[in-house]
Symmetry: C2
């Protein structure tokens, strides 16, 4: 930080945008809102906004936006800073630098479209990334970065469990991996791997009999947040 004085500092607006990912109906999906004003009127965009006040912390702003859009508080959910995007022409109106956050959430009943928030919808990321028309600003690039971050974090952390309900089976967790990575995993080897890593899964003692076949053990997320050795995609 240099010693330049305040009068030399250009005026720049700071926004906070959210890339909220979930696994729903066998797809990796992202929460998007339809823009109601120009620019990019009618285009899909990441939910977000400007700081609520000059005193609001940016992490707090992200958590607030997330609660407004999904109704979720910070428990059973993961929120981390992704990256800051600050190309000078990314917003045609004025200079806006946006601090983007990545959130991983379980399959929610639905995003509640209430209050002043726009109606939000879950959109498959495959569709967004392949035919990326109708995406506002540089949000397609942001989504690509968010998805890559999520994919890589599944390799060496327990964040796959953020997509699961509080109590889940090994198969549910494996399905999350398969959907996020777009790749089949051997059920038997995956089972052994995640159950052998110390404190990765915490057995509840309960069983799930929801599907046909032999009942599955139910687990909670364990205390181990890192997975060593990692599960590599290959």
């Amino acid at each position: 930080m240099t010693d330049e004085t305040a009068w030399t500092i250009p005026s720049v607006a700071i926004a906070v945008d959210l890339a909220v990912l979930t696994v729903q109906s066998g797809q990796l999906r992202i929460l998007l809102v339809r823009r109601g004003i120009e620019p990019f009127l009618g285009a899909l965009a990441l939910p977000g906004g400007f700081l609520a006040s000059e005193d609001e912390d940016i992490d707090t702003a992200a958590a607030r936006e997330l609660a407004e859009e999904t109704g979720l508080a910070s428990e059973q959910l993961h929120l981390e800073q992704l990256r800051t995007y600050g190309a000078p022409d990314r917003d045609p109106r004025r200079r806006v630098v946006t601090v983007c956050y990545l959130a991983l959430v379980p399959d929610l009943p639905l995003p509640v479209a209430g209050g002043d928030a726009q109606a939000a919808t879950w959109v498959p990321v495959d569709k967004v990334l392949r035919r990326g028309r109708a995406l506002a600003f540089d949000h397609k690039k942001i989504i690509a970065d968010a998805v890559e971050r999520a994919r890589s974090k599944l390799e060496y952390t327990n964040l796959g469990t953020a997509f699961c309900p509080p109590v889940f089976t090994v198969t549910e967790l494996r399905t999350v991996y398969e959907i996020v990575w777009g790749q089949r995993l051997d059920p038997r080897n995956f089972h052994r791997k995640v159950t052998n890593v110390e404190n990765f899964l915490e057995p509840t003692g309960e069983q799930s009999t929801k599907n046909g076949g032999r009942p599955a053990m139910l687990y909670r997320r364990g205390s181990a947040t890192v997975l060593y050795p990692p599960i590599l995609r290959g």
Copy 2:
């Protein structure tokens, strides 16, 4: 991004700070400047500054600051965004959000203290992180994040070579790993690992005879930027 209009947007200053790491004299070191004004007068701080103009891209601003401080251009050097720090009270004067960048550079002749830049010095990160007094703002935390990012990136990328000169030996590269990780590595296994990964190192055909003992083959950084399987710290 919401549809709030500009008059609701709080005014926040955006800074760009640099965590420039190098390996020098057997230590991992970071480039720091001594502050000449309040607040934190006389304390060590990361080099950085505000955007040069309202039209300057933040990545460009980081590259410009880096060139000003080190004289290095973007070749034979790595520069990536680290994280954005935006706690409301991190600067007592006014609200400042800083976008921090991580740079990895080879052992330079010296940082040139010329023009309007303050005199910069290389400070061992161990010293900074252990007895972190005299660090301005939240820069100690930023440095800790930068070091952890650098350490983890050595595991699965070729960024260790960013600390090396354009042409280097396997032993020089291993020494970089040992210093950054603070851990000894088996010379033989390391050699086999990095020379076996396809396109990780590009042989020059030349040999180095600088040290005693058998001359070492000289390599350039290869085209492979990711290391699979990774070299894990354990």
